[in-house]
Each structure stands twice: as C-alpha cells, then as structure tokens.
Amino acid sequence: MCESEEGGGCGGGGRPARAPRGGRPLKCMKCKEGPPVLIIRVGDAFCKACFKDYFVHKFRALLGKNRCIFPGEKVLLAFSGGPASSAMVRQVQEGLSREAAKKLRFKPGILFVDEGGVCGQGLEKRGEVRSQLERILRATGFPYHLVNLEEVFGLPGSILRAVSHSATDHSQSYKEAVDGFIQQQELLQCERTGGPGESLPGRLAELSIQDPSEKETAEVPGPLSISHTAELTRLFGAVKTLTAREELLQTLRNHLILHVARTSGYTKVMMGDSCTRVAVKLLTNLCLGRGAFLAGDTGFSDGRHGDVLVLRPMREYSAKEIAFYNRLFGVPAIFTPALATKAPDRASIHRLIESFLCKLQSDFPSTVSTVYRTGEKLGAAPGDDDSDGATEPERCLLCLCTLDTNVVDGSSLQSTLLSEELCQKPPLSAGSSCCEDAPTQTGCCKAPPVAGAIPPQVWLLPLLCYSCRLTIKDMSCLEPLPPYIHSEAERRRRSRAAMKQEIQEFLLEDDEAPPAS
C-alpha cells in the first residue's frame, strides 16, 4: 500500500500514494539540464527535447525489434482522429523523413472510418468533421481513404474468411528483403529509368483476394446513402446494451478496415492502441468472455486474417505520453464523439473498466503498466499456428478468431451453458410440459427447436465464439445485421450441412444432437 513512502511507515490515513513524492525533480533525468515538463512513470521527469527523442525512438525501436514490416510494403494506418492514432501518423511521417540510413521504408496510406452515423452526429456535423480531416490528411502527403461506416452494408461475405498466407514467411527472410530493397534502390538511382521497384510490393499485393484497384490518390467516398444511415441506426437500435453496441461497432469497423486493406493491396494495418487502451482492453475483454483471444486482441501483431497483419505500434505509449506529445509538438487531432461520450462510468463494461483503471492509476501510478506488462506475457494459443492447412480451424463469424467453443467436457463454458439452460426453464410448477407451452422458445429444455420456426439466432450462434454470442444475444432482432454476415452464415451452414451429408453413412447412428457446432 505504501510503496512511495519508504521507511516512513504508513502515516495516518489519507491517500498513501498521493503523499509528496520526495520533492519534485528540478532537472530532466536524462540530460540533467533542461527544465522538466512532464513526469512519465514514477518520478522520471523529462524536458521537452529529451521527451521528443524518447518518444520518437520508442516507435522506431518497436518496429525495428519486431521486424515484420518489409521494405516497400504498403501499410494502412487506421486513423480515428483521436490522440493516439494522430501521434502514430506523426511518427510515421517522422520516420519517413529521416535521412537514408534511419528511414522507414514502407509505403503508408491512411484510413479514416466515419462513425458519425452511430454516434449521433448529423450530416452537417459529419461534413464539418470530414473537411477538417481532409485538411489534416492532405497535409500528411500520404494517400488516404475516407470511408463511412455505412459501407458495411455493401461488404462481400468473403471478408469473413481468413486467407491463408504461405508467401510471407517472416523473420528468416526479413534481412534478405531489406538487403534486396536497398540494392534495388541503388540500382534505381543509377538507372533512373522507369519500372518502379515493383517486385516485392507487387508480389505482396497479389496476396489480396480481390484485384487491388491501385488508387494511390485520395479516395473520395461515394455520396452517403441516407437509407444506409437509417439501416445503421436500426441495427444499433436493435442492440440493447451499450457494451454490446461497443463490441458490434468494433467488429464492423474491423471488417471495414480489413476490406479497405484487401481491396487496396495493403498487407499491414497499424492500429493506434495506446498502452492505456491495451490495459483497458485486456481487462474488458476478460470480462466479456474473450479471454481466449487476449493475445490477438491486444498483442503487437495479430495475424487472424491471414493475409493482412494487424499491428499496434503505439502500445508502449501511455495515454499521458501521447497527450503531452500531441500538445507539445502541435500534432493536430480531431475530437469526434464516440458511442460512450458523456455516458456515466457504469454505462458499459468498457467504461467501467476504464474508470476503474484510471482511478487506481491516480493513486498507484504503476497500475496501467503492470496490467499491460502482464498482458504482454500472453502468446497466441499454440493451436492457432500449427494448423498445417490440413484442417483450417473454424473461426468466429464476427471476430474471426479461432472458435473457443469446441471444448472438452467439464469446461467452464459447458457449465455456463448448462446454468443458462436451467435458468431458462420455467418454474417447477410447469413441470415437464414446458416444451409444449413454448415450442419456439430457444434453448427450451433439451429438445432442439422445431424446424421452420427457427429464429436466426439459433443457427447464427453456433458460428460464433462465446463472447460474440453474448453480443448477439443482446440484440432484440438480427435482421438489421448487414447482408454479408447473413450470407456468409448461410454459406457456412450449407457447407457444413453438405459435409455432414457426405460423411453421413460413416456416422454411428446413436449419436445424439451434434456437439455445440
């Protein structure tokens, strides 16, 4: 409790960590000269210049350490206008403008997803935000894509399929790729002829499933369809809780980002999750039943899509560092309200965890980094990687993670499902006649629901991981879900039925209802 008061004992009550921390530092701890402007970690004061060096170095160090972005590769920066992703864009700019030896060598593009449609912004306000954004994006000089969240209604079902990738075998070939790239650059410089260094990026672009329509210039979004906005409103209106709404929004946004990455030939996506956000996400996802996917959801790299790798290069910066960086070095950011804006602390699990961590952090300044570092120890589940392509693991329809529902007997999932089932049983007085009373009720007793009256939930749920099931269960009706989700669900159901038919004759007759799937 009294970590900051060494040898002093706990003293009489009050808030222990708030006690004056042994005098304020007067000089920067790094250069021992400049006047300090902020404290990062406990007691480490930095001056402005040293803070900048520290911040810039961290970004490059993290990318350098992980060696996963190949030279010339196209990288999509997911930009929300918020502080972390704005700082991320600035870091990429910074890296690309360095002198040759230290230069970052990938080709960035920026993607902004306009979520104004679900966050209660009128068209006028959205137009305003958009013009502000375009000014910022144009100033970066990178190609950019502006996409409305409404476009999820036009996505193809294929977005929900992971694409296996064999061409990009990392680590071993990284150094060769870098050397090759440098040689190529030198060659180009000598020759000064046409044919830009096409080989690697070209090859990588081929990996995308749809023909990469190489729009290098700004992509102007189609006129916003009012009917889609209405559909979107209906979709989010059907979701009963803010928690589920947050999850759904995140899912749809990820699909959209993936779609843009695939159609435009990006093979990496950078997300701006800060250390603070990662810590919040870790605990939130645990509470949401996403424990099995923590590594993918919060780790530095997430390869669940196969062809497009998601990176989180901002995950070592705390929200405080980012806010100070943006403030001190004039990084433009736009504030756009989110779903939970102005909502009270207990409005959603996300909100609750965030305020819990922030409160704890203000009394115990190592809270966030401790949670974050604990999460760092998580690796992807071994089953994730060593599927040799023979049996592609089944993936959740929504979050695209390997399903966590094919579990062994006695797992906590089973007991959860069992107790859920028991809870849904009507009071004992109804006795055994419950099925006759409510034949269409889902999960009623053990009898499978009667065909014909199957609500969409029944055949959608088995395709989902435990956590996404919870989200879907919080929806009052499923019809408003975008068509690509329905069509892909239908496809999977058919292919499963077909497969079952094929092996039918080999099945033993006495099998009861198929397990979970």
């Binding site: 402007v37 806010a323 100070f324 001190l328 989110a338 102005k342």
Partner: protein, 101 residues
Amino acid sequence: MAAPLSIQLEFGGGAELLFDGIRKHQVTLPSQPEPWDIRSLLAWIKENLLKERPELFVQGDTVRPGILVLINEADWELMGELDYQLQDQDNVVFISTLHGG
C-alpha cells in the same frame, strides 16, 4: 487577500464538450481571502463554467482520473498538483485521455 487573477483555461480531448464545446476560456478569478490554487480553481470552474455533468470533470476535490492537467505547458505533477498557487496570466490546460472524452 489575493488580488483578482486573469488566467487562460483550455479544455481538450473531449473535455470541452462539458463546456459548450468551447476550448479556450479567458477568465478572471475574483479576489478572495486565500490565494488561488488549483483546488480552489476547480471548485470555481465547477460553479461558474461547467455546463453539465460535473461528475465527468471533477470528482471529490480533484479532477476526474484520466484528465491531465498542464500548468503553463508543464505537467501539474511537477508543480504541486492541487496546491499550485496560480499566478496572473497563467495558462491551465485540461486534457481528457478517456475514450470518447
């Protein structure tokens, strides 16, 4: 007896939403018996400037956890936090780092 102070307040990162969306406020603090410090400034803001949901900005006698405070472009942790005594023409910035402001 402290003389009236003229200071500039700034709100960012979504905190401005609680102040009618206005980011910069030039305010004059009236004279009061004790010198003005951040603690009394927060109480004053709560009374005079906050438009809605005060609990999203102040909690207890301090700012809501997750909101950063900069005094003259420096971390308030370097300046004594709530006990910092305001000077004339000081610049105090509040930045929310919370998701969605």
